[in-house]
Symmetry: C2
Subunit: 199 residues, 2 copies
Amino acid sequence: MKHEEQNQLTTTNIKNAFIQLIDQKGFNAITVADVTRTAGVSRGTFYVHYLDKFDLLLKIEDEIYFNIEKIINDNLEETLLLAADKDQRDVPYRIFLQSLDYVYVQRETIQSLFSEKGDPLFFNRIRDMVDDLFTSRMKETGAKFSSVIPQDYSKEIVINNLLNIIRHWLDKTKPETPSKLTGILMASLFLSPNELIEI
Amino acid sequence: MKHEEQNQLTTTNIKNAFIQLIDQKGFNAITVADVTRTAGVSRGTFYVHYLDKFDLLLKIEDEIYFNIEKIINDNLEETLLLAADKDQRDVPYRIFLQSLDYVYVQRETIQSLFSEKGDPLFFNRIRDMVDDLFTSRMKETGAKFSSVIPQDYSKEIVINNLLNIIRHWLDKTKPETPSKLTGILMASLFLSPNELIEI
DNA sequence: AAAAATATTCAACAAGGTGTTCAATAAAAT
DNA sequence: ATTTTATTGAACACCTTGTTGAATATTTTT
């Protein structure tokens, strides 16, 4: 086995063991010895690859974070090139669908990280990224938040609505297909809480 | 000083020191020695009152949890006694206002617990409580979630909308009055994300 | 083929936190 | 006057941490 392959194999084993342990006992309770025992490597090896368990967590999260960011950015750039009014309406739909396709593939890992046993800050980090992209997009298109209620609350509602739905989706044992959920997300944009309750 | 007063004083000092330390270094990084040093008591004393830092956290959270639960329950019971259709409409308004009055008084503590440095599970615990009360209330009144989108998503949106707004409120350096926020919460019930964005 | 670089293992280490225990002190309650 | 309660401070064994160094095996370079 080549050095690069060996390297790859070890870090993959460590990462898999780590996710497995998050589900079992939760991130906080994990020790480095737990991870190396589960991964079948020595404790010394762990410290060759990572500073500590936080560094390992960060590296797993970073990969997901930057992949999602790229998917959204690529879609936004494509849209700018077309610049026809008709195509602009598809933007959220396309972003939802392509992001969800990726999230669906990685759902076991993402679900573990998002869960109570995982890293609560990761959800916030993703939320802030979406928030930033959304905000700069609004500036570009000249859209503004309504002032029926204070603007910071409007923003909070719009962003959190989307991400809470996705988080709920990930928690389900039998999640809908990404395509189905994209439909739900699109529909949710036009529904008020009051309309979701029938008396 | 009487024994009971002394007891009270010590636990209060410990609790205050604990909240202060959550803001400073975050719950995870806190050691028992940190708490006792800040509170000005010996480490031995801490273990007389609490099992560990998790027990201390739980006791602080429990007080807030049960107070909020009581406020909501009292309002729901009152409403059942009146039973007139007109009064039923005020129910959410009264619950919001009275809950927020309490939350506002305790906002420093609650904000610390809800923050990234605090205990992310506490927000979920409050959310689940509100969810349970809301669900049983809907059964009593015969209300149902709409099926425009799957019902579990409808529920998710309604509950999270309210609690995310409150969390955002707590994060503000200059939060609105409880009365003002009650108005925002009531208005949010009739607004869809789409209506919150002006193109 | 020989030398150098890389990946891993194992054992040892000090440092720091954990939760327990116990003797000592002081004040309040009985 | 005696007992109960609250606190202190020190000592204890245990665990996890991150570091280090010597040993081994395999791959890469020369």
